[in-house]
Assembly symmetry: C2
Homo-oligomer: 314 residues x 2
DNA sequence: ACATTTGTTGCTCATATGAGCGAACTTGAC
DNA sequence: GTCAAGTTCGCTCATATGAGCAACAAATGT
């Protein structure tokens, strides 16, 4: 009869939550003091016998957010419950976060990609006014559907009655000299300077595999990526491949990549990192632990994965 | 921006349930009064945005139980949450109910079948002391695995340090005269008399289809059952086929069936009816609405099905 | 056997909360 | 516009509840 205590806990929880009895009444009914009832109830909540769930597409997991902030030293975190339509939920949450961000950024640096495009789509019209949106990494010309990168920035700017400033350069160049030359160009230099001075950044990350947008766009071959993985790459952030420690894996490649540097991102006051899905757990960990972001927007499973790898030190 | 109110409700619920803030704090945070917060919270619970669930194999649904008692005039009801292993949960609940029943029955009348056998298995040793268990419908000899009926009654009795009294007769005889003759037999008559005087009954019901135990045992053919269904049969209770109104469908068949009569069951002080699974919704409805039981032990889905068919009259 | 730690119990008391109630405010019909 | 009906609001007040504490009990080490 070891289970008796647990069974009583269940009975108490039922009477309290299902039957709306007071702790006093329950105590009288089961012949225990009302304090005991209270203690059993909080135990039931702790043990997960009582599960309180908030069922809503815009719901968040504040408890996990708090843990992320505390254990990983983030300025803020947004965690949405697991579900199907995961990317939609995370994108919505990122859009909500951006719209609620105070002070409203005067200049917002953004990357591009599937995730960012979805965030842009879920921002509501008038989410802010007069925000200048700057693209922080290259990618205009080579893209198959020309302009994914451009439309993302443009959409975010338009909905804030601001204007978008695009980075008129490929993401990755073939030769380092060309990269240096293009960076020296007045237009590009101007955009990069503006990007470096943005008051906030919003970006996502890619996985280091052949499905990457950089491969898809023709900047890299599948073989290149395999080689990068061999060197320890876990994914890319604003076009730059990083390893598990958040360092660039290939200096040569990095010196041919146009856009904001990782150090600049690390120095930012507000860098919002949006990431969803199991495939991106590794990059997410690299980004978060290496201080590339100050704000994390993600799903429950990713949040837990990050916390497990960072055991609590009492 | 119609959704704003709902979104605020979600935020309030999160802060209250996930973040353990007080209603006061939440009010200050969102710029609303604490009373508004309280109202939003109760609305969130009503709307199902906040779902409080008790996760435990022995958990019950007290709210549904109350509705069943009130709307169907039952003396008591036990409803377990839906899950896989449904029959196990319902059987466990029935066993728990029987063990907690006060006053402890001196004589308990039981039927037999898969459900009852499982209930017997889940009763703990010493659930009561000195209870006489009487079988209320025939079925000993013809059974393939001879003794399902017998072992059920015996197991229940043994665990209460009591003794079982079996009904030494087939469930259904071929001719009405034989039935009358066997009922006249001293032994059988004695058992039936005892059964009629039991202080409580515990029984289940069968579905009217070819999978019935009565078909399986050879008492009826599949064709017989089809004919019974044509006459309106929804299932059988202690061997007797009833229609949706709880009346016997075939007087001829009924007069060949040995065991407690339905009227005797209806007159009982305590008749515990155990039923689980969607297939049995129709029989369950017939049993409950025709007053064949005073106590219902079932699963959530069955409970809801019963309540839907009995709309609340304000 | 005795001290020490650890966990449990019933309690006081400050605080959190919901029921109930008029006041203010919408809403819709004329 | 004006009124009636319905809704929402902020509030008072009685009650429900959790934090914190001292007394006690049970385990654990010496």
């Amino acid at each position: 009869m070891i289970e008796t205590a647990e069974l009583q806990t269940v009975r108490v929880a039922e009477l309290y939550y299902d039957d709306n009895k007071t702790q006093d009444e329950i105590g009288a009914l089961l012949g225990i003091t009302r304090w005991k009832v209270g203690r059993l109830l909080s135990q039931a909540r702790d043990d997960g016998i009582v599960r309180i769930e908030i069922v809503h597409p815009r719901a968040r997991r504040l408890a996990l957010e708090r843990e992320l902030r505390e254990q990983l030293g983030l300025k803020d975190a947004v965690v949405v419950p697991d579900s199907d339509a995961l990317s939609a939920r995370v994108a919505q949450a990122a859009a909500d976060y951006l719209a609620a961000l105070r002070p409203v950024p005067r200049t917002l640096g953004v990357s591009w990609g599937r995730t960012l495009s979805e965030v842009a789509g879920r921002l509501r019209d008038g989410w802010a006014t007069g925000v200048t949106v700057v693209q922080i990494n290259g990618g205009v010309s080579l893209n198959r559907r020309a302009g994914t990168a451009a439309t993302t920035a443009a959409a975010i700017a338009e909905k804030a009655s601001g204007h978008a400033i695009l980075l008129p350069s490929p993401a990755i160049l073939e030769r380092a000299e060309t990269k240096r030359a293009i960076e020296a160009d007045r237009t590009v230099a101007g955009v990069l300077k503006l990007a470096g001075a943005a008051s906030a950044y919003l970006y996502s990350a890619g996985v280091a595999d052949e499905s990457s947008v950089l491969v898809d766009s023709g900047y890299l071959t599948a073989a290149d990526v395999i080689e990068l993985v061999r060197k320890g790459a876990v994914g890319d952030v604003v076009g730059r491949y990083i390893d598990a420690n958040g360092n660039t894996v290939d200096p040569g490649l990095d010196s041919r990549t146009v856009g904001l540097g990782l150090d600049q991102l690390r120095a930012a006051e507000t860098a919002i990192f949006v990431v969803a899905g199991e495939a991106k757990h590794d990059v997410a960990r690299a980004v978060v632990t290496s201080g590339l972001c100050t704000v994390l927007v993600t799903d429950e499973a990713t949040a837990r994965a990050l916390l497990i790898s960072e055991p609590r030190v009492p």
